[in-house]
């Protein structure tokens, strides 16, 4: 019988000097009271160097973590969890929030030990469908609004004219007739008239506003 090692070795005797375990739990927070832990959730250390599956209470566990600064991430398809930076020196452990892209040495808000991580946001991959109502259909469409406005003018302007005093109406029509025409003078007609021996009365009348100007 050959025995290499007949001594019974316990965990504490073997590993306590070299490394410490990191324990933690995924917990419900006031922010997301509806949080339910799923068995597919995993917690990883240092980008996946060690993986821990969660238990029914959301607990996770990493054995034999060496001295140094480590990153803890939660892999979940349902919730977004913050990342945690854990610094271990001997038996001392300090944890803080870590934000991607920030300096690795910068220490974020402190996280208490034992780690209790709660989800921040529910991952909702779906786009909500816009609710369809007749009002939203009309009010959201500028073309429809413009069309509506034009129709309103078509209807109400003649009605307003009807409501006016006949004398006022007459005055307005006269005013309109006397208003200077804004059109450009007709060049071809003017040139034609230039050489004409006698200007026709109509042409003279048409040219008169321009002359006035």
């Amino acid at each position: 019988m050959r025995w290499l090692d007949l001594v019974t070795i316990t965990l504490t005797a073997t590993f306590a000097a070299a490394a410490v375990p990191i324990e933690g739990q995924l917990v419900r927070s006031e922010l997301l009271p509806e949080f339910e832990i799923s068995p597919s959730t995993r917690v990883v250390l240092n980008g996946g160097a060690q993986t821990s599956f969660v238990d029914a209470d959301g607990g996770f566990y990493f054995d034999n973590v060496d001295d140094g600064v480590h990153l803890i991430e939660v892999l979940s398809r349902e919730y977004y969890f913050p990342k945690v930076r854990v610094a271990i020196t001997g038996n001392n452990m300090a944890a803080s929030m870590h934000v991607d892209g920030t300096n690795w040495n910068s220490v974020g808000p402190e996280v208490k030990i034992p780690l209790q991580l709660s989800p921040k946001v529910v991952i909702d991959p779906f786009m909500p469908r816009p609710k369809m109502t007749l009002m939203s259909l009309v009010m959201a469409n500028p073309m429809l609004l413009m069309m509506g406005g034009t129709f309103a003018l078509f209807f109400f302007l003649p009605k307003m004219m009807e409501g006016l005093d006949p004398e006022e109406l007459k005055k307005m029509q006269e005013n309109r007739a006397n208003q200077p025409k804004l059109e450009m003078p007709d060049v071809s007609e003017s040139l034609a008239n230039w050489f004409a021996p006698t200007a026709p009365a109509a042409a003279a009348a048409a040219a008169s506003p321009a002359k006035k100007k």
Partner: protein, 1055 residues
């Protein structure tokens, strides 16, 4: 500044939500096949929660529980890539004095990088972890792969009134006892490492460890309480194997010594010796006794002499005072010669023992005979290859025993047979797990609906040409009337379909299996042909994932490695696929042609060379020729016809190839010469020897078939930066690792000349952990995208850059480490006194570096295409042509930017559309078992780091942010779990906006992605009804208005 960032973030969000789907669209744009892999460990479990089927796959590193009723996955865990599953066993936990049963799955895995074992237990009912223990390997074992290690793992559960313990035997002769309640190692015993221990048995208070020490059976007895070594119960049993039942009786094979079998009940003082003939086993020797514990006191003892019949008996061992008594309960009738038998007994100790035996032949695989205490008749299996394993489960239902049978075939099919009311076994469900082991894939178009051989009424053209014009006219008219009648019949459905939003139109259930296999209007329906390592070939349609055909090459030694479309689909002609693979365990290379639509073989398997050949491709005028290069660089053409040789001869002067694979330390380039005898031979033209310590981590060649919509990129000021689109560009990432440092180097190499066009170093970059691949490369358009894990500055190895042998220039060896964000200006002086700048930012995590290649750093300038080729200078056209020559010495101008990626990557792929106009989306497989998409516009090195200018706005650039934020709307897999993605491939649909993406590894997931939204398709909630109502009301309104206008005109004239 803040405002600019806010606008940028908004724009970013707008760009990122481009292709999210609505909740009611689930199942219409994607399908998923959830798999567990070819299982190596199977056990039926039963508890208060119901029956379940626990499976573990050493090949796929999965532990899962299936529902025996439906075959669906109850839960599944895929281990991380740096852990290899060794063993899965089911243990039953009796709580509260045997009243409450909880079934536990114990999974043992090994992390080779850290030489640690992980022993985890999971609750079978929920999948939640119960305990997890890490055991550091004490002595290196001779088992270096999981298949060998698997045999050295044995797990047993020990329950007492106060605590529940798990005892595990691990490779390297380590026995560990774990307290399940608080995940604590109670004791750890290191046995003699020279003995290969393989079996662990428990008997009250003791642990029997059985092993093989240089051909002699070694039995060790350990105390369960503290792991201390005790003496054997009987010295004569020292060298024989023992089998214990759940907790009570033990039967030992002591045939060599006593010509008898020993049985004892722990606690009793003596041992019973029984002769094999008393157990109706005939005369057998010590090696061929098989003992299988069925329940606390019942065993099946059988002889397993190879090639002979194997008689078996059911025996019970009970304590009769101080002497154990062995009674034969039943002797099984002898099965046929060469048949194996499996046995199963009902669960529960208090029930009447019911034993089922199933005898099967692994030789034939077709007919399996089942026999038991109750005869269940004969089962006939289809073509699934040979049976790998059979698992039998018996249960007493309503007083009558029934049988469940799980068979595993060589092709990866897992079938569950269940005994029905008529006592015959019928197929309950079937899972095809070969899809979890895909080796290569190819997309093929379905043939067109209208063909050149048929007229519009679907009749052969030849036939209709023979008819006279009048008959033809009448025929066509009747045909149209018939079509009209058909349309009128479907009119109500058509009307209802347009009145409802189209989103509820098509579902997987509406798939018509009898419908002709033709292309659909929008090209969403393609054929995805998959080769698997089990030897099974699958063809699935991409719209809903229905199987079109599958083929198993199990009868021959042909193993498919590579799929090539030899002839693409043309109008009505089906594509022809070439299956390139190996014969006779890789000794020869061979090809088999198949019809893509039916899977039927065209001709036989053709040998094309020796082992390890390189299959290349030459294409001209739509004809493909495959030059096949062997290890001696001899080139053989496939097909080897005179036409193919002529075509190859024409291209010979411009044909180059290179050799590279992961782990290499050099890249070699070759040209092909025609020897006087007419043979072709490759001659080495160049080689790039990597600096010492660097090995190839990943490489990717530019896809020459990729459609490029634009030669340049229009900037905000309307000038153009011309893209560097070298079709011979090879991107190569190398890794240099020491104990504490890790660097990644990126090379861009021209594969014709071997010139290094660019080299960049990423200090501190590497794999996240040993065995956890993190370096991935992809080339899209003029971009090269590299991913890696940044270990931070402490892992950066700052070297005086070594000279790369080959054609690399000194000025190429620039330090471009990490990103240029928050650049630390610390300089380090190396040993040789050269000043080297360490620019590694102090970050830790996954990063993505994007390089964009342009012809010139200045806009509107292009590479001078005169090049070195003097002949080209004579032609004026060359200067302005878009033809690129590798013999040009000009190097590309490169823009680079690095982004922090929030998740761990397992694969990178990209979308692909018909014309390349739609912006590309880069897809990432994540360890969280998701597929995530990032628009290439986000991964743009031109994103301004400073204040955004009006020109940047014109160009629609987002301001730079160091991180790529998680956008929940960009999960292509939405809520689905797509486990273990290793490969992402894509193909264009007929719509320019939409790309069909397939991601596979363990699961197979196919999804349609539209990175720039479906701009060429009406939205699925388009208001057809609103449109029709508007048109109708407009017509009615016009008529009404006309009527009133007429009336008014008449009344005005009467005034």
């Amino acid at each position: 500044m803040v405002a600019i960032q806010f606008v940028g973030a908004l724009l970013l969000a707008a760009a990122q939500t481009a292709s999210a789907i609505h909740k009611d669209q689930v199942g219409q744009l994607e399908w998923l096949k959830s798999l567990v892999g070819q299982s190596s460990h199977v056990s039926f479990a039963r508890s208060q929660a119901g029956a379940s089927l626990a499976v573990g796959s050493v090949l796929a590193d999965t532990v899962a529980v299936l529902s025996p009723a439906t075959g669906s996955i109850v839960w599944r865990h895929l281990l991380a890539a740096n852990e290899a599953l060794l063993h899965v066993s089911r243990v039953i936990l009796h709580l509260f004095n045997l009243f409450f049963v909880r079934t536990v799955l114990a999974a043992t895995s090994f992390d080779a990088a850290t030489t640690t074992f992980h022993v985890r237990t999971f609750d079978v009912a929920t999948g939640f972890a119960l305990s997890s223990v890490v055991v550091k390997q004490k002595t290196p074992t001779f088992c270096d792969n999981s298949k060998l290690c698997e045999k050295q793992v044995s797990v047993k559960l020990v329950t007492s009134k106060t605590e529940t313990r798990l005892v595990a035997l691990l490779p390297g002769s380590t026995v560990v006892c774990i307290d399940l309640a608080d995940s604590r190692i109670v004791w750890l015993q290191q046995l003699d490492a020279s003995t290969s221990f393989s079996q662990l048995e428990t008997s009250a208070g003791n642990l029997i460890v059985l092993g093989n020490a240089n051909g002699v059976v070694d039995v060790e007895l350990l105390s369960l309480a503290d792991g201390s070594v005790k003496s054997s119960p009987d010295p004569s049993l020292k060298t024989f194997s023992c089998y214990s039942s759940a907790s009570n009786a033990v039967i030992c094979n002591a045939l060599g010594r006593q010509s008898a079998i020993a049985a004892f009940v722990p606690g009793s003082q003596s041992i019973a010796w029984i002769s094999p003939s008393d157990l109706n086993l005939g005369s057998i020797n010590s090696q061929h006794l098989n003992v299988e514990p069925l329940s606390a006191t019942e065993f099946i003892v059988s002889s397993n002499v190879p090639g002979a019949v194997s008689p078996a008996s059911l025996v019970t061992v009970a304590a009769d005072g101080n002497t154990p008594k062995v009674t034969v309960l039943h002797t099984f009738p002898e099965p046929k010669k060469g048949y194996k038998s499996v046995y199963s007994a009902t669960a529960g100790d208090k029930r009447n023992p019911f034993v089922a035996r199933l005898s099967f032949s692994t030789k034939k695989g077709k007919g399996v005979k089942t026999g038991s205490v109750t005869s269940v008749g004969v089962l006939e299996f289809g073509e699934g290859g040979l049976i790998v394993s059979i698992h039998l489960d018996t249960v007493v239902k309503d007083g009558a025993p029934t049988i469940r049978l799980l068979t595993y075939f060589q092709d990866g099919t897992m079938t569950l047979f269940q005994q029905g009311k008529t006592k015959t076994l019928a197929v309950k469900w079937e899972r095809d797990e070969s899809l979890a082991h895909i080796t290569d894939s190819v997309f093929v178009d379905f043939p067109d609906k209208y063909s050149l051989d048929f007229d519009e009424l679907g009749e052969p053209l030849k036939k209709s040409l023979e008819l006279d014009p009048v008959t033809r006219y009448v025929k066509r008219l009747t045909g149209h009337v018939g079509q009209m009648q058909g349309f009128l019949k479907t009119l109500p459905t058509f009307l209802s379909s347009i009145s409802l939003p189209q989103r509820n139109q098509e579902t997987a259930a509406s798939f018509n299996k009898t419908a002709p296999l033709v292309a659909d209007r929008l090209g969403f329906r393609k054929l995805l042909i998959l080769a698997t390592s089990t030897g099974k070939l699958h063809a699935l349609e991409t719209k809903f994932g229905h199987s079109i055909w599958s083929r198993y090459f199990g009868d021959s030694t042909f193993a498919v490695k590579d799929l090539e479309v030899l002839r693409p689909t043309a109008v009505q002609n089906a594509a022809i696929i070439g299956l390139f693979g190996t014969l006779e365990d890789g000794k020869k290379s061979a090809v088999q042609r198949i019809n893509a639509m039916t899977g039927d073989a065209i001709g036989g398997i053709e040998e094309i060379g020796g082992s390890d050949v390189l299959v290349l491709k030459v294409r001209q005028n739509g004809v493909n020729v495959y030059p096949i290069v062997d290890t001696d660089e001899l080139v053989v053409l496939y097909p080897n016809s005179p036409e193919a040789r002529d075509l190859f001869d024409l291209q010979l002067s411009t044909f180059y190839y290179y050799r590279i694979k992961k782990g290499d330390t050099a890249v070699r380039g070759f040209m092909v010469e025609k020897l006087p005898g007419g043979e072709y031979k490759g001659t080495q033209l160049w080689s790039v020897d990597l600096p010492a310590g660097e090995v190839v981590a990943d490489y990717v060649q530019k896809d020459r078939t990729e459609p490029i919509s634009s030669l340049g990129r229009v900037l905000g000021n309307r000038s153009v930066l011309y893209k560097y689109l070298n079709p011979n560009l090879l991107a190569l990432a190398t890794l240099r690792e020491t104990k504490s440092t890790s660097n990644v180097y990126l090379y861009l190499i021209d594969t014709v000349t071997g010139s290094i066009l660019h080299r960049a170093s990423y200090l501190g970059a590497g794999h996240a952990a040993k065995g956890l691949d993190s370096i991935y490369l992809i080339q899209v358009d003029n971009s090269v995208i590299l991913s890696y894990y940044n270990h931070g500055p402490e892992a950066a190895e700052v070297l005086v850059e070594p000279e790369v042998k080959g054609s690399v220039d000194r000025d190429e060896l620039k330090e471009t480490a990490g990103s240029n964000k928050r650049r630390k200006k610390n300089t380090l002086v190396s040993k040789e006194g050269n000043v080297v700048r360490n620019t590694s930012p102090n970050v830790k995590g996954y990063e993505i570096t994007v390089l964009e290649l342009y012809e010139m750093p200045k806009p509107d300038a292009r590479i001078d295409r005169f090049g070195l080729n003097f002949a080209s200078t004579l032609s004026l056209n060359t200067r302005f042509s878009d033809t690129y020559t590798s013999f040009n010495t000009q190097k590309p101008s490169i823009l680079q930017q690095t982004f922090v990626f929030p998740a761990q990557i397992t694969a990178i792929g990209s979308t692909r559309t018909g014309a390349g106009i739609t912006s590309r989306e880069i897809l990432f497989g994540l360890t969280s078992n998701q597929l995530y998409g990032v628009n290439l516009r986000i991964l743009d090195p031109r994103r301004p780091t400073g204040p955004i200018t009006s020109e940047d706005k014109e160009e629609m650039l987002f301001p730079y942010r160091a991180t790529i934020d998680y956008n929940p709307k960009e999960f292509a897999s939405h809520v689905l779990e797509v486990a273990g993605i290793k490969t992402i491939v894509s193909t264009p649909s007929s719509l320019e906006s939409t790309s069909i993406v397939a991601a596979y590894g363990l699961d197979l997931f196919v999804v349609r992605r539209a990175p720039s939204k479906t701009f060429d398709l009406l939205s699925d909630d388009f208001g057809y009804v609103t449109l029709i109502v508007t048109l109708v009301s407009l017509v009615v309104g016009i008529q009404v208005a006309k009527h009133y206008a007429e009336r008014k005109r008449v009344s005005d004239q009467w005034k």
